[in-house]
Amino acid sequence: MNDIMNGWEEIVITAISLSGIAFLAGIALYYAAKVFAVEEDPMVEEINDILPGANCGACGVPGCMSFAEKVVKTKDMSLYCPVGGQELSDDIADLMGLEAIEQDKMVARVMCQGGHSSTRTGEYRGIKTCGAVSTIHQYDLTCPYGCFGYGDCVTSCDFDAIHIVNGVALVDEEKCTACDACVVECPVNIIEMQPYDKTVFIACKSIDAGGAVKKYCDVGCTGCKKCVKACEHEAIHFDSFLATILPDKCTNCNDCVDKCDTDTIVITKDGIAQIKDKLVENAEVNV
């Protein structure tokens, strides 16, 4: 009987002492929370909630939370989340009580449509990624400027917006959020950012002379200058056998498209670049 009583005593003592410690620690923690409290703007949390949460880094800061913090801190409405687009900018402006700034939607565009219509010098049998090819040979096609078509951009895309179609990368512009991931990944720098509403672009980067281009590619820019003459708005810049459309001046009149003999000039329709008709007809998305 005595033994049992002793046991009870021990339990009671333990319980009381532990509760005492807990109480003291509680008071200490309460004051610590008061003294060391970090002031946080509730606005940061609110803005973070409406951000897409992709953490892609396209806005120029490391992630969505940092973007929210930066917006609240600087009150700079020119900060732009390409994933959320203009809609999101308006929402953020509403929350902050400021005026939103209109931004153009940008999309990635692949400046090549060579793929299977361009010749290859050899048969590459190594590891099938563009990065692996570029460590061995600087280019894979006979064209030194063309898309390899092994799809490093496809794996880098978080939004399923880019695919390899007939040996060349093709962007789905409706899904593209202009996050820049594919632009950084591409070892031949064939992907460029362009405004979404300018629907004409010249899909070639070869600065070789016309004769050389004709030898290795059906759809390369030969530097014939026909488009330059056709353009009434002086929107086509010509340098070293390569024409490029200046988005600032282009009016989407499509005058140049019919003039191009090699079908190098591409129109986008419904968010897909309408590359050479015969390629699109039997287009196969092999991702």
Partner: protein, 454 residues
Amino acid sequence: MLKSTFNLGGIHPPENKKYSEGKKIEDISLPEQISINLNQHIGKKAKAVVEKKQEISVGDILGEADGFISALVHSPVSGTVKKIEQKMTAAGMVESTLTIDVNIEKTTEDSKKYETKKEVDIDQTSKEDLLKMIQNAGIVGQGGATFPMHVKLSPPPDKKVDTLILNGAECEPYLTADHQLMLENADAILLGVRIIQKISNVTQIFIGIEENKPDAIKLFEERISAAGMENCKVSPLKTKYPQGGEKQLINAITGREVPSGKLPFDVGVLVQNVGTIFAVYEAVFYEKPFIDRITTITGFVKKPGNFRIRMGTPFAHAIEDGAGGFIDEERVRSVVNGGPMMGKSIRQLDVSVMKGTSGIVALSDHEFVYSEEGPCIRCGRCIDICPMGLMPVTLADDTIIKNGAELLDSLDCIECGSCSYVCPTSRKLVHWIKIGKSVYRTWKQKEESYKTDQ
């Protein structure tokens, strides 16, 4: 006598040296057009000093060294510069390349000045003069790494070099150029050794030759005793790949180990390929710039052999004219610049011979068996045979999952290709490690540019 060898790993691929072994060194006729690129060495690329349509003759300087670690590029022919363009080289990279129309008669005439031997007393000539001669000849290491010779011969003053190792191992399968060169020019090579000895004050010299070349070992032993070079010794090496790797050779002969990230002169050793030494001999005694080299053309060709070939000769011409063309063009699967273990397949035959082209190997469908990359079965064979004591499988996996500084370890790989050779599921381990290296280097560059920005 116990043959020395390196202590870790190594493989025994089929040698296949029988095709070109013992074939006398022949000259290859001049092609009508050659193309010379300006980045044939490690370091900064040379700067073009000629213009389009300029008349040049043999030995004229085409590219000037731009910086300390860089080398001169000389014209191997007389003729006219046709164009300067960006073109893919045999090494697979796009470099500015000079295309030269060859004036065959004038070239033959002009080349005669390199045929008369000058009287040079090595003991009387100063160290600086000899070094200057080597630098002016634009000599780079011929083993494959193409490190500029004058840089290798002038180590930092706090590093003391006491041993010279002459690399005659030639462990790459198929290649026999160094072997043939040693047989035909033993005395010249020993004179070259004396030049290097004078410049770098080494106290002991070893000539490392694999035991599959007994005639070369015997010949050198004879010639050394005839020349009375007491501190010079032939060390027969076991036939094992990669015996000719710089770090493996040092380990096999001296027992020293080059620490990670360090160079041979950190352990007091200088390693030179026999071809390089021969080029040094020619530069000093014939005042001949580095405009031709001994190369093996072998494999699936009609007349394999060892050839003296001018830089810039297109592969197509070399194979057609020297080796009599392919046996069956349809069956050629790969033409390799260098040896089959470390060389790179070329993409088109119009690329030209460079300072580092130690061999041109044509592989047929019988020799070149391709299989898709399979999954790792954890057998550990790559770890067993890695001559650097690395874990190739881990390094390859690191490339896939890691980034930036975490890939530092892959820099220890010497890219000998042994792991890819033994892998039972044909994983392209060396290729993965190479990608890892390039990812690391890109990261490092970026990191340094940030530092300089701040």
